[in-house]
């Protein structure tokens, strides 16, 4: 569901900044302050020589605050020497400030490039010998996702700093251009309690067919293209240690998923031994976080079976290894009706259609129990 505030915000910020196909192959990078360029730089490389001079005026660097307010660029100078277009701010880029750089290359028949960056890492409190934080998982874990993908989860090895998290996260298309407004940008992001798992929520308003942002901007991902999720190397953990290297995960986008998951098509394999796991093969990849808590097992008396839940095979397999051995008898696998697939469709309802319009599969809408039995 998209609340009204969110929709209003989406409508307010809707712009025409979406990436467009390009003919050249320029790149847009941020360079931290160094001896040659003491205030830092934003550099566009790969502009044909004949277009270098004209390209200078197309590189616009703003604070994220100013960009959000459609405000002016930062005082600075842009040169086109040595085959690169280089912007240098009049006053050095500051740590703790989010900046946005944009190369409006389409005016020269080049790509439109845009990215948000943090200028400098904060004074670190690194301790020698301790491993840097790293990304340990991204879900969906598969290489292919539907174009109406609703969420991504990024799991880190350490509790992370949440401040301005969206300045460190971006999605690039196969031209290397940043997908504008791909995610709903909550100020400090959506984190689990341990602040190790970050939830990235694709703009629901752009995904829901027929609502304003969808009509104005279209969905953030296009079927048939390859995208890359990038987590910036400057992101730090709670102790101030940076990731060290930026993290990238590429994925191919397929057609929209406009069907509900259907538990009746799952294959439930009863445990083969008292200590063996219950194994459930799903009919399609489901939401990783929801899978971890929305499938439960009880005995026929309603007593829960506690154990170790694992989600695997690109979120198409769910297993439960019981803490106590299975006892001979009947069990029930319960499916929470709110369980979603990658596109936010639940068994009884498509993400962007009301519950009255039953999903085409006719899958059950209420809590749904699937019996199985264990016999040693």
């Amino acid at each position: 569901m998209v609340d009204r505030t969110l929709l209003a915000a989406l409508l307010a910020v809707a712009t025409s900044g979406c990436a467009t196909p390009r003919t050249g192959a320029p790149t847009l990078t941020f360079e931290a302050p160094n001896a040659a360029h003491p205030t830092g730089s934003v550099v566009v490389q790969g502009v044909p020589d004949a277009k270098l001079d004209a390209a200078r005026a197309l590189l616009v660097v703003r604070t994220q605050e100013s960009r959000d307010a459609d405000g002016p660029a930062i005082f600075g100078t842009t040169t086109s020497d040595g085959g690169v277009v280089r912007y240098e701010p009049r006053f050095a880029f500051l740590s703790g400030v989010a900046y946005h750089a944009e190369f409006r290359g389409t005016e020269l028949g080049l790509a439109h490039l845009a990215r948000t960056f943090h200028a400098a890492v904060r004074p670190g409190t690194e301790r020698a010998g301790e491993p840097a934080p790293r990304v340990v998982a991204v879900h969906p874990s598969g290489a292919r996702v539907p174009a109406n993908l609703l969420r991504m989860y990024v799991t880190f090895s350490e509790p992370m700093r949440a401040r301005d998290i969206h300045a460190f996260v971006r999605v690039l298309d196969d031209d290397g251009a940043e997908v504008e407004q791909a995610f709903v940008e909550f100020e400090h992001g959506i984190w689990d309690d341990a602040r190790r798992r970050l939830t990235l929520l694709f703009h629901p308003g752009r995904l829901k067919r027929g609502v304003g942002p969808n009509l104005r901007m279209g969905p953030p991902l296009e079927a048939g293209r390859r995208y890359t999720l990038v987590i910036d190397d400057a992101l730090r953990d709670e102790l101030g240690r940076p990731l060290g290297a930026s993290f990238e995960k590429s994925f191919v986008v397929e057609a929209d998923d406009r069907s509900s998951p259907d538990p009746r098509r799952w294959t439930v394999t009863a445990p083969v031994a008292a200590g063996a796991p219950l194994d459930v093969a799903l009919d399609e990849p489901l939401d990783h976080a929801l899978l971890s808590r929305m499938l439960t097992v009880t005995n026929v008396a309603g007593e829960p079976v506690v154990g170790d839940v694992r989600v695997g095979d690109g979120e198409t397999r769910w297993t439960l290894a019981p803490k106590e051995p299975w006892r001979a008898g009947e069990y029930i696998l319960w499916v929470d009706p709110a369980l979603e697939d990658l596109a936010g469709n639940t068994p009884g309802q498509l993400f962007d259609r009301g519950p009255i319009e039953r999903s085409a599969s006719g899958a059950p809408r209420g809590p749904f129990g699937m019996p199985f039995s264990f016999s040693p």
């Binding site: 003491p38 604070t63 605050e65 307010a69 930062i74 005082f75 009049r90 006053f91 500051l94 703790g96």
Partner: protein
């Protein structure tokens, strides 16, 4: 220095100062290390008070536009607008001083990107950051960067400005930022208030302009009503020059909030003078800025305060006040009568021609507005 590097190709030859006090005063152009205070002099000269360098610079603004009468500013979020241009967050923009050009009516602002360091109510901007950005707001509302490093200027070293020791009662704060607290140009001289390294720390420097390398230092002593004693270590926070019957005076105000009169003719080098405390305006407050204006044929002093309403003292009332406050008054209000006007959250103020006043005011929504008021309101 960062600014020097940036502007190296354009720099006029400059003189480096080796240290405080030991060097003879110079009139050559020196690097600007901080823009602690701004004041206009004659013919488009903008004085930059530089606490960090312990110097004053005279910046030649060159040919200016003709005076534009009736200029009015109404900019509701000037910090956000400056933030976008200098590459920081709105919450980090700090304006250290404001001066309006009497000729062009452009407003000049001394700016730093250090407001996040302003962590206590009593922090004055110069105590937590050095302003290194000079901004010019022109009457059409656009904001320009003044590249003062590349502009023609002369400089003079102030003798013996305070060193950088810890502030008496503000934690994590040093006093060098108070080396220069306010400036005003009068009768061919720039008056500079601040702190020196002398035994009597509070000081008024009297600097002839054009600079000839000579600076007269006079240390100050006043009776501070809220403290119930004579003091020498607190600096003037705001002052204005004013002539009574052809005799020049300095009307000055201090933290907590004594209002004091000094005879300007007594501002001689190496002298120590005692001011006459003629009003106590209330404690828990400091004066932000003072100006003199005329209304109904009489001159008035308008004071913007950090924690109290705006105050108006008629110069006729000051002239006719014969007494001197030498005891701690009840409620810390005594002496020359004054009127109050609404106006809180004023952080900077200056005259804008004869009929208007330009102010920076913190609004209830947290935004800082640049606004103009008619002197008739006061």
């Amino acid at each position: 220095m960062k600014l020097t590097c940036w502007l190296a190709p354009f720099l006029v030859p400059c003189v480096a100062f080796a240290g405080d006090g030991a060097q003879p005063a110079s009139k050559a152009a020196a690097d600007v290390a901080s823009i602690s205070a701004l004041a206009f002099g004659p013919d488009g000269v903008l004085f930059l008070g530089d606490s960090r360098a312990g110097a004053v610079h005279a910046l030649d603004l060159g040919e200016r536009d003709a005076p534009s009468e009736g200029t009015r500013y109404a900019m509701l979020d000037i910090e956000a607008r400056i933030a976008a241009l200098v590459g920081t967050k709105e919450a980090d923009v700090m304006i250290h001083d404001l001066a309006a050009d009497p000729r062009s009516r452009a407003v000049y602002l001394a700016v730093s990107r250090g407001r996040a360091k302003q962590t206590m109510e009593w922090h004055i901007p110069n105590e937590v950051a050095d302003a290194d950005i000079l901004i010019r707001v022109v009457p059409d509302g656009s904001i320009e960067l003044v590249e003062y490093g590349a502009m023609k200027r002369t400089s003079v070293k102030l003798p013996n400005p305070t060193d950088d020791h810890a502030h008496l009662w503000k934690p994590d704060t040093t006093v060098r930022g108070d080396a220069i607290t306010d400036m005003a140009f009068v009768d061919g001289h720039l008056l500079v208030s601040g702190l020196s390294n002398e035994e009597f720390a509070a000081v008024l420097w009297r600097v002839p302009y054009p600079f000839d390398g000579k600076v007269a230092s006079t240390t100050l002593e006043i009776f501070h009503g809220a403290h119930g004693e004579y003091e020498t270590y607190a600096p003037i926070r705001a002052f204005v020059p004013y002539d009574f019957d052809g005799e020049p005076y300095v009307l000055a105000s201090y933290l907590c909030t004594p209002f004091v009169e000094f005879e300007a003719n007594a501002l001689q080098d190496a002298e120590h003078i005692r001011g006459r405390t003629i009003a106590e305006l209330g404690s828990g407050n400091y004066p932000v800025d003072m100006i003199v204006y005329s209304k109904g044929g009489e001159d008035r002093v308008l004071i913007a305060n950090s924690n109290l309403p705006m105050m108006i003292l008629k110069t006729a009332d000051i002239a006719s006040f014969d007494g001197e406050l030498t005891t701690e008054p009840d409620g810390y209000i005594a002496g020359v009568p004054y009127e109050v006007r609404s106006g809180t959250g004023i952080t900077q103020m200056d005259r804008l021609g004869d009929d208007a006043i330009v102010m920076l005011q913190r609004m209830s929504n947290g935004k800082l507005q640049l606004a103009t008021w008619s002197t008739e309101r006061f």
